[in-house]
Structures are given as C-alpha cells and as structure tokens.
C-alpha cells in the first residue's frame, strides 16, 4: 500500500528503480512481521517443541543429524510400538527432517554452530517468511496491479489461519508444506502461462519436494488436473496446456514415487487417478487437435470430438472397473471421510476421535481470517470477470478448498493461501480505483457535453449531443471526498486486521501444550509443568528399556522427552494394537494384568486433570478408548456398560460398576480421597463429588504422581512370589486375614501334574 501511494511521485525509469527498492523493503518488512508474530511462545515461555506430533519429527531429526542420511533412510525404530517396532524410513515424510538437517549442516559449515533444537523450533517462522514471498509471486501472476502481490504477502504473513500451524515450536510437516504448496502453484501458473517445459519441470521438482514433506500433496495432485480438465471443458485447450501439464505429470509422478512412503501409490490408488486420467485425455485432445489442423472438413472435426469423448468414457469405465475389482486401491478412509462426512464416525473411530477432524464452525472462519473472509468472494468474483487460464485456477482452488475446509477444521490451512490471494485481488482493485487522484478523460468528455449544452445552437443539435453523451456516459469517481473516505475506510479495516491477527496469535495460538500457564490472583503467571516433571522422572528413574503404556496421544512425547519405549503412539498405523491398549485401560484389573504382562509393560502412565480442572485428561478421552476397543472385542468391552441406567457418563457415586472396576478409573482416582478432608473429594473437571471410599489397586502400584496430579505413573507389579493371584495377595497384605479357619472345604480340583 505504501508503494501505491508513493507511486505518482516516482515517474520514469528512476521511478521504476525506486519502486523496486520500495518493493524489496516492503517484502523484507513483511517477512520480518511474519517471523516476529510467531515468536510469542518462545519469548513468553522458552524455546521448546510444542504439541504431540512435532516431538516425533524432532526425534527423527536428531537421529538424522547424529547418524547421517543413509541410516535415517532405513531406520528401524525399536523404541515405538513395542513388540512390533516401526520401519520409520518407510513410514514418514522425510522432507521436514532433511530440510532442517541441511540447514543444520549449512550453518555448521558457516561456523555458526546452532543447536538442532533451535533450528527445529524456528523452522516454521523462517519458512512463513518464504511463504509470504511465494504468495507475492503467485499473486503477481494473477494481477497486473502493483499492490496485489504485496497485499497478499502481508495477508499471508500474518493471517491466523496459517499462524495456527506455524508458530515457533510447532515443528510439524505443515511448517514447510504451505510454502511448498504456494510455490508449486506459482510455478504451475508460470508454466501454464508461458507454456514452458522448464517451468513445468521446476514445478514437478517442487511438487516432488512437497510430496516428501506432507501427505497433503494429494491436494495438488488433484487440483492441477482439475484445473486442466476445467480448461479443456471450457474449450481453452492450447499447446501451452499440453506442454506444461505433460511435463509436470511425467516428471512429477516419477519424483513422487521416489519417496518410500508413497511408493507405487501414484499408480495404484484412487486419489491419484484423476491426474493420470487427465494426462491421457490431454494426449487424446492433443492428437485430435493435431489431426484436425490438417483436415478441412467440419463434420470430421465433430466426429473427432466424439471420438475423444468415447475414449474418455471407455477409459473412465475401465478405471471404475479396475477400482471395483481391486487392482486400484479405493480411497483411504481419511480421504474418503472428506466426501462421506459420516463415514469416519461409524467405521473408523480413531479418525473421528481427533478433534482436528471435526467440521468447521462459522466463527472459526471469522476468527482465523477476519476481514479476508468477506473480501474472498469478491476476489473470486473479480477472477470470474477476467477469466484467463490463471484466474480459472483461482476459481477452482477457491471452490475446492472452501468445501474441504468446511468438512475438516484442519484443512482451513489449505484454504488460507487462496483466501489471502483472492482478498488481495479484491482489495487492490478497490485501492487502484480509489487511489488514482487524477481523473484522466474528464476534461474532454465534459467539455463536449458542456459545449453542447451551453451553446445550444439548435434544439435538435442539443438533443443529439445529449443523446450522444448519454450513449457514452462518463462513469467514474471524481470527487476526492469519496475517494478519501473509501480509502480511509479500507485503511482502517486493514489496521484492525493487523490488530486482530496479533491478538489472535498472542492469545489463542501461542501456547505450548507441554507447559500449562495459568494466572495467579495478583496477575502474575504461574506455570504448571507437570508433563516435563513426569517425563523427566521417567527418564532418570527407570530402566533404559522400561516399556511405558499410555494412551496413544502421549506416545510421541514419551518417546521424545522421556526417551522410553512405548506401546502405541500418535502414528496410528496399527488400530488393533491401539485397541489392545484401550482394552487394557478399560477392563478390570484381572483382565488387563495379563495383557500388560504379555506386552512386557513396566509402567502405565495416565493423565488426570481432576485436581486442577485440566479438561484434556484421560477420563474425558476414556470413551474413545472404549469405542476403539469395542471395535475389536465387542464381547468383552461394551460402551453401554460405562453408562448408567439413564445413559449418563458418571464418575461419582452413581458410576456403573464396570466404570469403577476399569483400570483407568482406578488409576486416575487412586488415593485421590487422601488429598481432601473425609467425604469432600471433588473432581474439578467433571464437577462432581467423588465417593467416600477410593478405588483399590492390586496389580499395579503407584510409582510417581506429579505436583498437580496431572500425570500419574504406576508400576506394574511382578508375579506373586508364592503364586497367589494379586487380589488375594494384596488383601492379605492389607491384613484382611481370615479370622477363623473355615472348616468347610472348598471344591477341590484335581491336580494334573
């Protein structure tokens, strides 16, 4: 915007240069703003990795840095999924780790030795600056206006929808993926505009990089073919489309197959079939166009077109047949649930259990994209007005991404770039109209009109003049008051937008979930650091290979911070194994003890927020454990048993017997009564009074409870020395001796051996 207002002052070639300098300065400032607004959490707390998933990425990066690339490529991780292990090299997207590994080594080569943790923490802010620059390039392809690109860049730099996944410390795949997404699209637009194989090849290379970084590359694989398909359907096929798409597809598909996790998927799975189909269609269309140019007959041309349609229909039918017969894998559950929104909830509870996979509510759009969301449709409309190849892309992208973001909260991330671009197009259009202070055609046009009116030679002539002037009415805004008021309003909105973004970033998206911050009555900050306290205890006071059983949410953090083997973790590739843990947590002790023995579990970790009112604890997640376990063992675990007669989920006196007997309940509330005066134990999350007598644990013993009782760790007891079962051994220890020896003999069983 600054460049825009300055523009009239710079004329000629020097004006061009100084505008270029201004542009560079503005872009640098935008990158600075993008980086600076992501540092709230680092400045407030400390430079650590947040959330759950990034802990695995961090661990993998450390492995890469210390062991080298080849070891990382075929790394078999035996400290996760305990009995099974995980072939990490083949089950992750290596782009993120390799990027930070390269940065690490580059900085060392420049004799700036930086800790790998700091590189990981600050990777996302760094790449957000690049994203802003990529958005600038992308938008410049869309519009000739000098301000559109810069506006899009600043929008992208500070929009909360993108900040939410890229604050400092959120070392997740999205950190670099959004940059790659936007940059790939920029290269694609460039390729299709110029019809150049070089840009198509570059687009394929960055597409390959994107594939190595994020599973969301499927979005690109479907968006670019859709764009081409729409172009062909609009009758806008041109040799440029053929050159750019075919180069991209041939190279990009090969590039994507180099990633072990992707492998043969581009040939074998339904998600990638649209790209292949459009590739075939383009060959047909290209050939037909070629033949048609050599043949004069009109009739023949229509026949050729019919031929294209026929082959397309036949191959589409063949594709459907192959999918039905199973040669081509059908859509994966995660992808399929985008279309059939009820699917995950019914069939795959583990997908539905993640809070990010819920539909988006309206306020989230306004919260994440404040002023942009209402400029967005206007920008898309402007694209409709000037429908060149690249504007079609914006329209297609906008429609597709809007739908996906409505289905899943987490896909708001892919919507944000296009919202920024479209909003910048709309806004720059407004500014271009209202910021031109000189009114060009006014003198000549009005002169003729006034001449005709004032002179008034004859009535007829005057009428004619009037009519002519009415035929070409002079449309435009000339009053400087209206210009200033509109521009002023827009500037105010933009300033409010900045304020909103800063406020949202500071309050909503800059809290590390590892550390819980609360306020003391006097306003000072109180940090609750139970997670790290407990993980540190595990790291220091347990054997190097003590297996920890916990719900899968904490798997990565235990692996990353406590450095102990876990049974399940956030990479939910084996549903049955997770269900096993769910069963152990939701069954009676006698049932879960053998399960834990079989899996060599040494410690069990539960998260309990009852004392502090921390609502994301395991009792609140408990029903998902039950559901996931019920999916595998419907006879042994039943969700119905955990509800009271009236269908309530209760933990107090009214809880069902199954609930009270479950291992999770017992571990959560063990000894909890002792904190309070008798009869006044209170659960602050559920807001209920706990029963008088707490649960009794026989097969595990309390090993550690953190300061605020958020994390409780239990040690699994060994088998009893004299072969009793744990319940009777424990009751013997408590002194419940049988008062008198019973005369009556119990039913004896024949000793076999």
């Amino acid at each position: 915007m600054v460049a825009k207002t300055q523009e009239p002052f710079f004329q000629g070639s020097t004006g061009k240069n100084s505008r270029g300098v201004l542009r560079i300065i503005i872009l640098c400032l935008i990158a600075g703003a993008a980086i600076a607004s992501r540092l709230f959490s680092v400045i407030r707390f400390e430079s650590i990795i947040h959330e759950f998933d990034p802990w695995f990425n961090f661990r993998a990066t450390k492995y890469l840095v210390s062991n080298g690339f080849y070891d990382f490529w075929d790394w078999f991780d035996d400290r996760t999924w305990h009995p099974l292990g995980r072939v990490t090299g083949g089950t992750l997207y290596p782009g993120l780790m390799v990027t930070s590994g390269v940065i690490y080594h580059a900085l060392r080569a420049l004799t700036i030795p930086v800790d790998i943790r700091n590189i990981c923490v600050l990777l996302a802010p760094g790449f957000s600056g690049l994203t802003a620059f990529a958005t600038y390039l992308f938008t410049n392809e869309m519009s000739t206006s000098p301000s559109a690109g810069l506006l899009a860049a600043i929008f992208m730099g500070i929009a909360p929808g993108y900040i939410s996944r890229s604050v400092a410390g959120s070392y997740d795949n999205e950190a670099i993926a959004i940059f790659l997404l936007v940059f790939t699209f920029y290269l694609w637009i460039k390729a299709i505009k110029l019809g150049s194989a070089f840009w198509g090849a570059l687009c394929a290379l960055f597409y390959g990089y994107m594939v190595s970084a994020w599973g969301g590359y499927v979005f690109i694989t479907n968006l670019i073919p859709l764009h081409v398909f729409v172009l062909v359907c609009m009758g806008r096929f041109s040799p440029r489309v053929y050159v750019s798409y075919c180069t991209w597809y041939a190279l990009g598909t090969l590039a994507s197959m180099q990633i072990p996790f992707v492998g043969f998927l581009p040939i074998r799975s339904s998600e990638h079939m649209s790209a292949l189909g459009v590739f075939g269609l383009l060959q047909l269309v290209g050939f037909v166009e070629f033949v048609r140019s050599g043949v004069p007959s009109k009739q023949f041309a229509t026949l050729l077109r019919g031929f294209v349609l026929a082959v397309f229909a036949i191959s589409f039918g063949g594709l459907v047949l192959l999918t039905v017969s199973g040669v081509i894998a059908p859509w994966t559950g995660r992808f399929y649930s985008l279309w059939d929104t009820g699917y995950a909830k019914i069939h795959i509870p583990i997908i539905a259990s993640v809070s990010e996979h819920q539909p988006t509510a309206w306020p989230a759009y306004f919260f994440d994209l404040n002023l942009l969301i209402w400029l967005f449709p206007a920008g898309v409309y402007l694209c409709f007005l000037k429908l060149a190849d690249e504007q079609v892309f914006v329209v297609v992208y906008a429609i597709l991404a809007s739908y996906f973001s409505g289905v899943m909260v987490r896909l708001m991330l892919t919507l944000t770039p296009i919202v920024c671009v479209a909003a910048a197009l709309a806004l720059s259009n407004i500014l271009d109209t209202y910021l031109t202070f000189k009114s060009p055609e006014e003198p000549t046009a009005t002169a003729t009109v006034t001449d005709g009116a004032s002179n008034g030679a004859t009535k007829k002539a005057a009428k004619q003049e009037e009519l002519r002037s009415m035929r070409q009415p002079l449309v435009g805004i000339y009053a400087s008051f209206s210009k200033i008021s509109v521009v002023g309003a827009m500037t105010t909105y933009l300033l409010i937008f900045v304020l909103h973004c800063t406020w949202v970033t500071s309050n909503a998206y800059s809290s590390p979930s590892v550390v819980l911050a609360s306020r003391m009555p006097d306003g000072s900050q109180h940090i609750i650091d139970d997670y790290r306290e407990a993980y540190q205890w595990l790291r220091q006071n347990t054997k190097e290979d003590a297996k920890i059983m916990s719900w899968w949410d904490y798997g990565y953090q235990i692996g990353g911070m406590a450095d102990r083997p876990t049974l399940v973790d956030n990479n939910t590739w084996n549903n049955t194994h997770i269900a096993t843990v769910g069963k152990a947590m939701s069954s009676r002790e006698e049932v879960s003890y053998p399960i834990m023995r079989q899996h060599e579990v040494d410690y069990v970790l539960v998260v309990f927020g009852g004392l502090l009112g921390y609502s994301g604890d395991d009792i609140n997640k408990f029903l998902w454990m039950v559901r996931i376990a019920e999916g595998i063992w419907p006879d042994e675990v039943k969700e119905r048993d955990f509800f009271t007669e009236r269908g309530e989920y209760r933990v107090d006196d009214g809880a069902t017997q199954t609930m009270k007997d479950s291992l999770m309940y017992k571990m959560s509330y063990y000894n909890y009564n002792s904190l309070f005066p008798p009869g006044q134990a209170q659960d602050r999350v559920r807001g209920v009074k706990m029963p008088e007598v707490g649960p009794i644990l026989n097969t595990v013993e309390e090993a550690f409870t953190s300061e605020n009782w958020i994390i409780r760790i239990y040690k699994v007891k060994d088998l009893d020395n004299v072969g009793r079962d744990h319940a009777s051994a424990a009751s013997f220890d408590r002194g419940n001796k049988k008062k008198k020896t019973l005369k009556k003999r119990g039913p004896k069983v024949l000793r076999v051996e």
Binding site: G200, C246, Q258, I267, M273, G286, V311, I314, S315
Partner: protein, 148 residues
C-alpha cells in the same frame, strides 16, 4: 500416417495402462474416415502426402524418434503382460522413461512448430531445446534412481 498413428497409440496407452484401450484405437480410424465424402483410403493418403510435403526435416526427425519411443514402450508393455510385472519398479521406470521422453519430445515438437509461434512468444526454439534437455536429464535421473 505412421507418426500420427503412433502418437494415437501412445495417447491411448498412456491413460489407464489397461488392455482395453488398444482395442479402441482401431475404432477411430474407420470412424474418422467414413465421414468424408472421399473414400477412407483417399483421406489417409491425402493426409500422409500433406504431412510429407509440409513438415520440415527436423520435425520429421523428431517424429521418427517419437515413433521409436512408442515402439519401445509397446514392447515393454507387451513383455510386462506376457512375463508378469515382478520387479514392478523396474517396469515402471522403464515404461515411464519412454512415456516421459515421448511427452517431452512432443512438447519440443509443439514448441518448435512454426504454427504455434503465437502461443509461445516467450519460448524460442533454442530455449525449447534447452528446456527439453533439462527435462530429460531430470527424467533420466529419476528413472535410474527408481530402477534400483
């Protein structure tokens, strides 16, 4: 007619890599020629002569290379059908090398074609050739890497 026909064959093979498509290729030739008031042979011969006369020598060279690629691709595909696709990555990299090279060559042919000059005002024939070399290098790097 040969190069164009071959172009159609690859175009038809490329989309879903199924066996159903090659059967559709023959359908096209009668359908396209029957519409003319001339006889089909006349049309085909007319096109062929037209091609021989009008196409520059360099473009013909490109066409020969493209038809060679089609032959290699078809042979690989037939062998894959006959002998099974056990080292699937080897088949894929070989086959996609031919398909990719074909597509890149077709792009070069389109870009250097005089008739398309209006479409590609920023791409000179030399630039097109440099792009072609760049694309081919990447393609072969990936193929060699993928064939193991």
């Amino acid at each position: 007619m040969a190069p164009k026909k071959n172009a159609a064959a690859v175009a038809a093979i490329a989309p879903p890599t199924t066996t159903t498509i090659p059967s559709s290729t023959p359908i096209k030739i009668p359908s396209k020629s029957s519409s003319q008031n001339q006889s089909p042979q006349q049309v085909a011969i007319g096109i062929w002569k037209n091609y021989l006369n009008k196409t520059p020598q360099r473009t013909k060279l490109i066409d020969v290379f493209m038809s060679f690629l089609v032959v290699v691709g078809v042979l690989q595909f037939v062998y894959c059908i006959l002998a099974g696709n056990y080292p699937f990555n080897a088949f894929l990299s070989g086959f996609s090398a031919t398909v990719g090279q074909f597509v890149l060559t077709a792009s070069l042919r389109i870009q250097t074609n005089e008739e398309n000059k209006a479409e590609f005002n920023s791409v000179s024939p030399e630039r097109a050739f440099a792009d072609y070399v760049f694309g081919s290098l990447i393609l072969h790097f990936f193929c060699v890497n993928f064939i193991n």
